[in-house]
Amino acid sequence: MSRRDPSPESALSDEPLRIGRHEFRSRLLLGTGKYPSHDVMRACHEAAATECVTVAVRRVDLSGREKSLLDWIDRGRITLLPNTAGCFTVEDALRTARLGREAGLSELVKLEVLADPGTLLPDPVATLEATRQLVKEGFVVLAYCSDDPILARHLEQAGAAAVMPLGSPIGSGQGINNPRNIRLIKDSLRVPVLVDAGVGTPSDVTLAFELGIDGVLLNSAIALARDPVRMAAAMHHAALAGRHGFLAGRIAVTEHGRASSPESGKIAAATR
């Protein structure tokens, strides 16, 4: 290594996250729900330096009084990812995805087919069926799913452009309940793996990336934090910390200590 030291910048070189024809330098995807205000949301998107945010598809306000969410999203920097949040059947998910594409002129869709309003857990069977259909229709499907490694494989084989296993239930803040499964999924898939749902803290995000995954999508952890903008900035750093911690190759864990200072050259020990 030369005496010209690498700067932190070069130390942090990384390839972009690629999903379909899209490229993202930031590996943190955010939501647009539950913020105290649209202004705070926009500030959080900036603080997190995100380049992709999910949006829900809902009936337009016929009174026309509501201002459009999109006025607070810089479409130049940020890609919209329509989702099918709140759908409990394959058909509703398909209809919502089609409406989202028509409204957003984008083929991207975050597919959620949930089993019930109580657990908000994804239905593996319905999600697989909807993925097959949407792929047929030309969608670029990011499939939200459980952390069952074999289900993730089926979704990849069904044509999903990315697989998004949950860390824990949506909005629960439990973090990554089964890191081994997340690693298994990453190790056996070729498409990008993004952890979606359940993240509560920056360390959850850092840990997720240390498992080798390609991205994290979160919403409540920022939107409902006491200071959302600060938390957004924290999440930005957490993603970089975990991603580069993974790329840098951690030290091995040992049962006993290993000295950090030289054993030799000590002054003569005092006679005890």
Binding site: T32, A56, V60, L69, A85, A103, N219
Partner: protein
């Protein structure tokens, strides 16, 4: 001058003068065309078909993007 028609928009029944195209309806409702999408009787209605005339009993879903996770 034809009789008025009753259609359902986002679950609400509305009585409107006919003939009326989808695009005319949007204008009447002061809704921006570019950020919304429409389902007519459970099927997606592409923008290219917004000139289509509405018929009595039609059911419309007009959606846009809102905050979500």
């Amino acid at each position: 001058m034809s009789a008025p028609i009753t259609i359902e928009i986002n679950g609400e029944a509305r009585t409107l003068r006919a003939p009326l195209t989808v695009r005319e309806l949007l204008t009447e409702l002061a809704l921006p065309v570019e950020r919304l999408a429409i389902e007519l009787n459970r099927g997606l209605l592409p923008r290219t078909e917004f000139e289509r005339a509405l018929a009595d009993g039609d059911r419309l879903e007009i959606v846009t993007f809102v905050g979500g996770g």
